[in-house]
Amino acid sequence: MASLRCFLRSGRNAVSVVLRREFHKTSPASVQVTVRDALNQAMDEELERDERVFLLGEEVAQYDGAYKVSRGLWKKYGDKRIIDTPITEMGFTGIAVGAAMAGLRPICEFMTFNFSMQAIDQVINSAAKTYYMSAGRQSVPIVFRGPNGASAGVAAQHSQCFAAWYGHCPGLKVVSPWNAEDARGLLKAAIRDDNPVVFLENELMYGVAFEMSEEAQSKDFTIPIGKAKVERQGTHVSLVTHSRYVSHCLDAAVVLAKDGIECEVVNLRTIRPLDIETIEASVMKTNHLVTVEGGWPQFGVGAEICAKIMEGPAFNYLDAPATRVTGVDIPMPYAKILEDNSVPQIKDIIFSVKKTLNV
């Protein structure tokens, strides 16, 4: 465990170089911003805006963040607002929740969401359920954030996706940004939200740069939690996905377009509450549904989408059963060839789309 944490702390993002998207001409007022910097700026601005906001977690202060997401914040805001904790997730998560109950607005960072399992009782039983149990007397304005899902070569205990686990629970909002604009707008919205928000980042996306519009750069730019975004219009199939796999779906769509298949790519942005209306509208247009996620198939995000589609008007518009593209139902292996074949690749999405369309 200690040696693994050393690895994580090295701050290497060699893998993200592979994923770096091609630079294209940016329009005058927009800039290229990495997801990491977008998160950093969002936190910086919210810390400045509201003195009740503070950040706590392992290595967030003097180390500048295990993944450098909180770089520079301790230097700017000091010990009171940026707090390094001991390696005691259950304890510091409970402390963060208690602080939220008593009037502060904490951002509780998990070095990865795998470690949140040690603290999951505090997230669910102390944070998520309290407003309901108290019949509206006690609110818990807190954000739990950190990298979620598979990384590169970190093996089984460090690669789990928790979207379905947290997405299961009433009282929580669960958010999964994809690009820099998502990261910025959703994190600001999450911090300003008066309820517990689980904010699932992705380590492999931290170093990826995206164009950010001038509007998105404004200090009050927020993205509403609970609304999905259609990233690419299409007519033949709806690819519904979240986080890193939005990139995969967009890349697959480019390849499929050469075969005359136009994919509509829906970026969920929020896992809970799920924006089923946007998905339904898309399915009613394309008549085909393929969900794409990194997590395991059983009881997953894709499973929930399929179930919801069956319960609504879009079912009658399906020309084929919905398809789920997911991670393989195994603990994550280490060897590169095994790991690569444990999560959806672009070729898997292309294959699944063609099978669903029966071409």
Binding site: F54, K80, I83, T85, P86, T88, M90, G91, F92, T93, G94, I95, A96, V97, G98, A99, A100, M101, A102, G103, L104, D121, Q122, N125, S126, T130, Y131, Y132, M133, S134, A135, G136, R137, Q138, S139, P141, P170, G171, K173, D194, N195, P273, E311
Partner: protein, 422 residues
């Protein structure tokens, strides 16, 4: 002459007099469901005074204040402990007596209602431990914060929730303090964070509340309670570490009632010196059956925290008469003789009453009057709790999120679309 003395006595006693027989009930007991109150709750007020006086004893007859020797506390990592002498005024004594007795009767009434199946689920009763809740509250202010585990009815009362709202919550009615949605273990009030069902989870929460106090610089402290059963939880040690590291104004209090459910402390803990378990945190072991001892220790602890010295730990040695919960008769792991012995020798209410009587601070009649009033209050609260309607089904999904427009919630089947308001 008698009337003049009575007048003078009423003036001096102010509103804290208990020397009354008749009370205006409508001022004291509100039988309608209260609206959600935005104002902070006040401590339970005794009924208004200045009605007919029954007792012939008057002001000049009673001792107004006395000093009592209290047990010296064992200390850990402290140069000195709380004082060994406590002052008690007549008014304070009568107030403490009333509060503890109300708590006692409330718990016994809950026992009755549970056996009648009007209260369901979990019900963990506090009788025997009254000195802890009342002593702690006497040592802090209402502006301080308090959080405890599931044996919480007593603290809910001392933190300002009226008896009838507690009982209506136990019976699951809309007049309950959590509108019937929380039940026995989930009652909240201003600066009172429940009522927590997961053993030990409340301790990091309490340390977090203390962090908020420190952060906001408001000179408040957080009293964080847990039991001897919870004392071995890892997250408590995690909380000790961070509280000490960051010097949080947190008073950790272990209510050691000798049994964690059915397991005696000797069978659960390698070290039963709970006041020392904080290791680097100073600790005090307190006689939890003596309200004055608890009060003095709490004041000492609060001063320690407010002086910026960091957290402190108190172990209150106390006892519960009931079993762990209503489904536990409480005699399979301890003897009836033991329970009886504690009741006869160390009962907190009797201890206080005897002290006051022996020092001529109050009369037997006065205590009897208070008992009668309390009995009435509890009866009426129980009446309310059994007659108030259950929460309406339309409210089923409310209070999922705070400060949100209404959302749709999925019901039992796809055709059931329910609404949730903030």
């Amino acid at each position: 002459m008698q009337n003049m003395l009575t007048l003078i006595s009423n003036v001096f006693r102010g509103t804290a007099t208990k020397n009354v027989l008749l009370i205006r009930l409508s001022e004291h007991v509100d039988l309608t469901s209260p609206p959600a109150s935005a104002t902070p709750r006040q401590p339970p007020k005794p009924p208004p005074g200045a009605m007919a006086v029954v007792s012939a004893r008057s002001y000049a007859d009673f001792t107004q204040q006395a000093s009592f020797d209290i047990k010296k506390c064992d200390i850990h990592r402290l140069e000195s402990g709380p004082p060994v002498v406590a002052e008690l005024t007549r008014d304070q004594g009568l107030q403490y007596y009333r509060t503890m007795n109300t708590m006692r009767r409330m718990e016994l009434k809950a026992d009755q209602l549970y056996k009648q199946k009007i209260i369901r689920g979990f019900c963990h009763l506090y009788d025997g431990q009254e000195a802890c809740a009342v002593g702690i509250e006497a040592g802090i202010n209402l502006s301080d914060h308090l959080i405890t585990a599931y044996r919480a009815h007593g603290y809910t009362y001392t933190r300002g929730v009226p008896v009838k709202e507690i009982m209506a919550e136990l019976t699951g009615r809309k007049g309950g303090v959590a509108k019937g949605k929380g039940g026995s273990m989930h009652m909240y009030a201003e600066h009172f964070y429940g009522g927590n069902g997961i053993v030990g989870a409340q301790v990091p929460l309490g340390a977090g509340i203390a962090l908020a106090c420190q952060y906001q610089g408001n000179n408040q402290v957080c009293v964080t309670l847990y039991g001897d059963g919870a004392a071995n939880q890892g997250q408590i040690f995690e909380s000790y570490n961070m509280a000490a590291l960051w010097k949080l104004p947190c008073i950790f209090i272990c209510e050691n009632n000798k049994y964690g459910m059915g397991t005696s402390v000797e069978r659960a803990s390698a070290s039963t010196d709970y006041y020392k378990r904080g290791d680097f945190i100073p600790g005090i072991r307190v006689d939890g059956m003596d309200l004055l001892c608890v009060r003095e220790a709490t004041k000492f602890a609060a001063d320690h925290c407010r002086a910026g010295k960091g957290p402190i730990l108190m172990e209150l040695q106390t006892y519960r008469y009931h079993g762990h919960s209503m489904s536990d008769p409480g005699v399979s792991y301890r003897t009836r003789e033991e329970i009886q012995e504690v009741r006869s020798k160390s009962d907190p209410i009797s201890t206080l009453k005897d002290r006051m009587l022996n020092n001529n601070m109050a009369s037997v009649e006065e205590f009897k009057e208070i008992d009668v009033e309390i009995r009435k209050e509890i009866e009426e609260a129980a009446q309310f709790a059994t007659s108030d309607p259950e929460p309406p089904l339309e409210d089923l999904c409310d209070h999922i999120f705070y400060n949100e427009p209404p959302i749709e919630v999925r019901g039992i089947h796809p055709w059931s679309k329910l609404k949730s308001v903030s």
